[in-house]
Structures are given as structure tokens and as C-alpha cells.
């Protein structure tokens, strides 16, 4: 399982054009080699950096024994196919009781614009993502540009055949371990707002880059601050044209809102099964209302799967997904908050008091960390409020907030 030129199955060409055949073949592979994948079942490493490596190793295993991570991405880096292949990969992993490698969350967000707007760059940088050798971070938010992304100030000025980047990004997932960043930077004036932005890929090891992990309330260092001090970035690292960064960001949102939702729904169903197993065998009476909440959380997950699958099918058919994707995001947040609140309430004292050092309490400790992370589902990538405003403006056509 460790060669770098991965053997593909004899049916690669057939699987690349048929997502259903791909899903079945992958299911068979995961079942036939189940024991090889056991190390990714059960408890996850305690720190984010260890978890990143652990998940990278899963990508490597999937890549090296059949090229499974390359389907759904265009050639030459990928093997061809469409977003349904990727959706099937995430789903089959969840059904097999395996994690969806965290790196795939960013891959889905950032891979698509790179493939679409910078195909030759994609050919160069994407293979390392499929093997788990590298992963990326998304640099959009800044201290003064959260919900109001178009207020961002991290600057890039042209200097010959380079951009020179100065400024700061904040809240970057994988920021501490990522090998490259995809950043939205200001190439125009601040007054130009969203018209003066450019998307750049910046190497994490470029001179002038420094980073500082930020711990969530769980203690997990899920995000980072990243500083750029006159970092030189070749023009060839622009994703899309200069000053067209907003359009690239909007393109990316289609995938962020739907594929992220689909991944999360698969993971949520796996975790709900775990929780159900624990509650069913707990032997103590469950808190009032637990049974109904279990049922409605399951229904919420089915709804999220239904919606995100429909959106992914539209993407696969070449449709553009617009503001209606905010519905997907709202349903995702419903699942994330509902599932984790249920776990917190139903596990009760265990959730509250489990000792992180206690090897018998790992499950409760994990639920606790996941509960904190679940709070981000109404914040990141456009908050709950921002999504509602988008629907009110662009789908319901209500009068604008500023109108008098």
C-alpha cells in the first residue's frame, strides 16, 4: 500500500464515467480490505496536528490502493468524473465507519476554483492533495473582515512578475499545518470593496510567512492566524484574473455550501449511530425528550442528505448554484447544532465531567470537542444571519434592509 505510482484497478476508465459503479467498487474495496482500515476506526488522535497526519495517512492509503481519491477531479491530476464521485467517496467512508479526512473539507472548497480558473496550476499542485502529502488552508477572514468579507485589507501589490503580499489572515482552518494557502487579497483600493480583490495561492514556507495557532474553547488548535510580511508570490499563482477574486470566491461557495453539507451529513449520520449505540446500551433512563430528539435529528440528517445530494447533482450537470445554496447551509447548521446538543444533553454528566486523561472516557471527551466545533456551523463560511439575509434578498425578494 505504499508505492507512489498508485496502481489503478482495471476498471478505472469505466469507473471514471460512472459514479454509481465507482461507489460500488469503492464499497467493495473498503469491505474486502476492512482490516487495513481499522486503524482509522475508533478514537481519533488528541491534537489537531496529529489528527491531520492521521487523516493524511488515510488519504494515502486510499490513493495508493486504487487511486480512489483521484476520481471526480479532472485529468491530468485527477482521473476524471464529476462531483458525484467525490460525494460517493465521502459517503462510502462514512458508511464504512471511517472518518472523512479533514483535508477533504478544504479540498472541496479550494480545489474547485483552482481546477476551474487555473488548470495548469491545478495539474502541478493537486496530485499532492490526493496522496495526502499536502493540504491547503483558506485565507479569507481577517480581524476586521468577518461577515463583511469585502472589507478585507491584506494587500498584494505588483512587482514585476510577482505579487508582494502584506497583511494578516485569521481563523484559518489547518493554518498551522497546511502546505499552501489560498488567499483572497486586496489588489485594488479599499473603496473598491469586492471589485478590488484577487485570489492567490501562497506557499506556507515562503519567506515572510508566519503563523500562530488559535485554540478553540475545546483546547483544540483548529484555526490559526497567518501573517504575511512582504511575501513574494509569482503571478502564475493567481487563481483567476487580477481583481476578479470575488467571482472566484462566489464560484467556490457553490461547492463549499453543498459538498461540505454532504460530507457533514455523512459524518453526522455515523456519529448519530455511535450515539444511538451508546444511549441504547447505557442502562440508565434517558433524559426527557431524548427519544423524540433522536428521531428528529435523524430526520434532519436525511433532509440534509436529500438537499445536498440534489445540489451536488445540479453541480455535476453543470448548473450554477446561486443564493439558494443558503438553504443547504441552514439545514447543515440545523443538523450540526441539533446532533451535538442532543449528545450534550443525553450524555449529561459524562459530557460535563469526563476526564480527558481517562482512556475510558475518550468518547465523551470527543463529543465535548465536537460540540464546541459544532458551534461554528452557524458562524463559518457565512453566519446563520448572513444566510437568512441572502435568502430574504435574493430568493424571497423582500424589500432591502436599507430601504426606506
Amino acid at each position: 500500500m505504499s508505492t507512489s505510482t498508485a496502481p489503478l484497478g482495471p476498471r478505472a476508465a469505466e469507473l471514471a464515467v460512472d459514479p454509481v459503479a465507482y461507489a460500488l467498487a469503492l464499497r467493495e474495496h473498503l469491505a474486502d480490505n476492512s482490516a487495513d482500515y481499522d486503524r482509522w476506526r475508533g478514537h481519533e488522535p488528541m491534537t489537531v496536528a496529529e489528527r491531520n497526519d492521521h487523516h493524511a495517512a488515510l488519504l494515502r492509503a486510499l490513493h495508493d490502493d486504487g487511486g480512489w481519491t483521484r476520481y471526480g477531479w479532472p485529468e491530468p491530476a485527477g482521473l476524471g468524473g464529476d462531483p458525484r464521485h467525490r460525494a460517493a467517496l465521502y459517503d462510502e467512508l462514512s458508511s464504512a465507519g471511517l472518518p472523512v479526512p479533514d483535508q477533504c473539507l478544504v479540498l472541496e472548497t479550494l480545489g474547485n476554483p483552482v481546477v476551474h480558473f487555473a488548470p495548469s496550476l491545478a495539474a502541478e499542485v493537486m496530485p499532492a492533495l490526493f496522496t495526502g502529502a499536502q493540504w491547503w488552508g483558506q485565507g479569507f477572514s481577517e480581524p476586521e473582515a468577518g461577515s463583511d468579507l469585502a472589507a478585507l485589507r491584506c494587500r498584494a501589490r505588483r512587482d514585476g512578475d510577482h505579487y508582494v503580499v502584506s497583511g494578516q489572515k485569521l481563523w484559518m482552518s489547518f493554518g498551522a499545518t497546511a502546505h499552501r494557502f489560498v488567499c483572497l487579497v486586496r489588489t485594488g483600493t479599499p473603496e473598491a470593496r469586492h471589485r478590488g480583490l484577487t485570489m492567490l495561492m501562497i506557499d506556507a514556507d515562503a519567506p515572510g510567512v508566519s503563523r500562530r495557532p488559535v485554540a478553540l474553547a475545546s483546547g483544540q488548535e483548529e484555526v490559526s492566524e497567518v501573517f504575511f510580511d512582504d511575501v513574494r508570490v509569482p503571478l502564475s499563482r493567481a487563481i483567476g484574473a487580477q481583481d476578479q477574486g470575488w467571482a472566484v470566491a462566489m464560484y467556490l461557495l457553490q461547492f463549499e455550501r453543498s459538498m461540505f453539507a454532504w460530507q457533514s451529513a455523512g459524518i453526522a449520520l455515523r456519529r448519530l449511530r455511535d450515539l444511538r449505540g451508546r444511549l441504547a446500551s447505557s442502562g440508565t433512563p434517558l433524559p426527557d425528550g431524548t427519544t423524540g430528539r433522536l428521531g428528529s435529528t435523524y430526520a434532519d440528517i436525511v433532509t440534509l442528505r436529500s438537499r445536498s445530494a440534489a445540489t451536488i447533482r445540479r453541480l455535476a450537470a453543470g448548473d450554477t448554484v446561486g443564493p439558494e445554496a443558503s438553504v443547504d447551509k441552514i439545514l447543515l447548521a440545523t443538523v450540526e447544532t441539533g446532533l451535538h446538543d442532543l449528545a450534550r444533553d443525553a450524555l449529561g454528566a459524562d459530557f460535563l465531567l469526563a476526564d480527558p486523561q481517562d482512556p475510558h472516557a475518550l468518547d465523551s471527551t470527543a463529543w465535548r470537542a465536537e460540540w464546541w466545533y459544532s458551534r461554528s456551523s452557524t458562524i463559518l463560511g457565512g453566519s446563520a444571519e448572513v444566510q437568512r439575509t441572502i435568502l430574504a434578498d435574493h430568493v424571497l425578494g423582500l424589500p432591502q434592509e436599507s430601504s426606506r
Partner: protein, 312 residues
């Protein structure tokens, strides 16, 4: 095997007219050649039909007819089905509900240790009283049955589960129709009415409440679509989830649409109250959303497969 979008719009338009005139639905459907439409694409046909019935706040025996179609041997028009009392979810018992139907023969389901059995009874021999209550427009009659099983009872086996699943999908569509109309009314009202010198719909709280209503409606729609296309072995389970979802949606949507109409929303002057009470009545048939959530949760705790239902 499936209707194209243009045809669906034509069908929808005809149905809207039928319901708007308030004339009896069954003969009007015959005139439209409904049987063919239904055969061509049961999912879309049923969804559009019940969606329009919901939007129009119409009451009919269509739900019973649709369920009877799953129970061989009964003719809609001549027969109607006694639905389980809302107190019983989808479990037949000693009390039930008759929908607004003129059929003379009532098919009565009864639960036995060996499954559901059906008997037919002359409508005239049943003790009924108008349901009235929260939704006076429902046209329902409440029925209390005598204790004895009818001698001609026939076991229906899995067909009862299929009939319930069909009924749940139809009810989900009708609830969606009710909520769609309520949301349209709320959007129109808040776009037109001004307070503090600006339209109500420009206030963020109002906007967000209606956005949540929209998201809930979309959730119900897509879950229903999935229930229609679910594989046979999970069809009943998926229909339960779709009904649960639609029931929860009417609670989310109507709570918000009533709020943004202010005092008008709780008067007899506005139709809003009719959407609210119809939504509640439809939710209660064949299992309200809270009851279904409990049933699904109990099944889960007892080890039922938490099926993914949707594949890509």
C-alpha cells in the same frame, strides 16, 4: 414515464382552477383525465394535486381515495377509507376520521394481532359527528366504532403499510401547499405594509423569520421528493420521515407567517388563520411530527437501521 415541466404547469393550472371554483373534485379530475396523469408520473401528479388542494384550503376525500388505491378491491367514489383518529397516529383503533367524501361505503381498518384487517360498513350505519374544533373547515367527521369486528374482515398485510406511506406522502404535499400559500401571503403583506416609514419586510427580524420559513419549506419539498424515489425496502420509512419533516415545517412556517401579519394574522378577516389550522389538522393525520419523531427515535433505540435513505 415522467411529465415534463411544461405539462406539469398546465396540470397545475387546471387543478388550481378546479379548486378555486370549489366544485366537487372527483368528477373534475375525471374530466381532466387524471387517471392517465397519475399513471404517467405518480410522484409529480400526487404532489401537485395535494399541493393545490392545500394551497386552496380545500377539503375532499382525495386522501382516502389515494390510500384505497393501495388496498385492492375498493373503488374510490363508492368507497372511502376510515382514517385512524389523530390520537392513534397511523394505528387503526376504535375511533376514526371520515374525510369530506360522499361515498356510501366505508372501509374500516382494524388492528389485530395478525396485522390490519379491513371491513366494509354502510356509512349510514355509523355514528358520526362533525369534527369542527381547531379547523372547522376540515370537513371531517369523527366516528366511534362498536367493539365487534365485522364478519367480512379481510387481512391486508403489507398493503396497509403501503397505504399509510402513500397517505403520508400525499399529506406532506398538502402541508407544503398550505405553507407555500401562507408564506406568499406573508411576503406580500410585509412587502406592502409600512411601519416606521419603511416596509415591514425591510426589518431584519421579519426578513429572517421568512427566510427560515422558506428554508423549512425547501427542506420539506426535497425530503418528499426523496421519499417518492426511495427504494422499495425503505419507501415506508422514507415516507414517515417526509411526513415528519412536513409536519415540523408547518410548525416552523406558520408560527412565523402568523407573527409577521400582526393582529391581522389572528383574525377571521385574513386567510392566515385558515392556513394555521389546516396545517395543524394535516399534521395530525397519520402521525403528527412529534409523535413520528418519537416513533423513529424509539425504533432507533431498539436497533433499527438508521438508513441513509439518499445515495448520490
Amino acid at each position: 414515464m415522467s411529465l415534463d415541466d411544461a405539462t406539469v404547469e398546465v396540470v397545475r393550472g387546471s387543478l388550481r382552477e378546479v379548486f378555486a371554483t370549489g366544485r366537487p373534485v372527483a368528477p373534475a379530475l375525471d374530466e381532466l383525465g387524471w387517471a392517465e396523469v397519475l399513471e404517467e408520473d405518480p410522484a409529480i401528479a400526487t404532489t401537485v394535486l395535494f399541493g393545490e388542494q392545500g394551497r386552496a384550503l380545500a377539503s375532499s376525500g382525495l386522501l382516502a381515495d389515494t390510500m384505497l388505491a393501495e388496498l385492492p378491491g375498493y373503488a374510490p367514489g363508492t368507497h372511502t377509507l376510515l382514517l385512524p383518529h389523530p390520537r392513534l397516529g397511523a394505528h387503526p383503533g376504535p375511533t376514526g376520521v371520515l374525510l369530506a367524501s360522499t361515498a356510501e361505503v366505508v372501509v374500516v381498518p382494524r388492528a389485530t394481532p395478525d396485522g390490519v384487517v379491513l371491513a366494509t360498513i354502510e356509512r349510514s350505519s355509523l355514528v358520526t359527528r362533525p369534527a369542527g374544533g381547531f379547523d372547522p373547515g376540515s370537513g371531517w367527521q369523527l366516528v366511534t366504532l362498536g367493539a365487534a369486528l365485522q364478519p367480512d374482515s379481510v387481512p391486508v398485510g403489507a398493503a396497509w403499510e403501503r397505504a399509510v406511506a402513500t397517505g403520508r406522502r400525499a399529506l406532506a404535499a398538502e402541508i407544503i401547499g398550505v405553507c407555500t400559500a401562507a408564506l406568499e401571503l406573508a411576503v406580500t403583506h410585509t412587502s406592502v405594509r409600512h411601519q416606521y416609514g419603511r416596509p415591514l419586510g425591510s426589518f431584519q427580524s421579519v426578513r429572517h423569520q421568512l427566510a427560515e420559513a422558506h428554508a423549512a419549506l425547501e427542506a420539506a419539498r426535497v425530503t418528499l421528493d426523496v421519499a417518492w424515489s426511495a427504494a422499495e425496502d425503505v419507501a415506508a420509512w422514507a415516507a414517515t420521515v417526509a411526513k415528519l419533516r412536513a409536519g415540523a415545517t408547518q410548525s416552523t412556517v406558520l408560527r412565523r407567517t402568523v407573527q409577521v401579519l400582526g393582529a391581522m394574522g389572528i383574525t377571521l378577516e385574513s386567510d392566515m388563520h385558515r392556513y394555521v389550522s389546516r396545517g395543524a389538522a394535516l399534521d395530525a393525520l397519520l402521525g403528527g411530527h412529534l409523535r413520528l419523531a418519537d416513533e423513529v427515535g424509539s425504533a432507533a433505540l431498539a436497533g433499527a437501521d438508521l438508513h441513509p435513505v439518499v445515495t448520490i
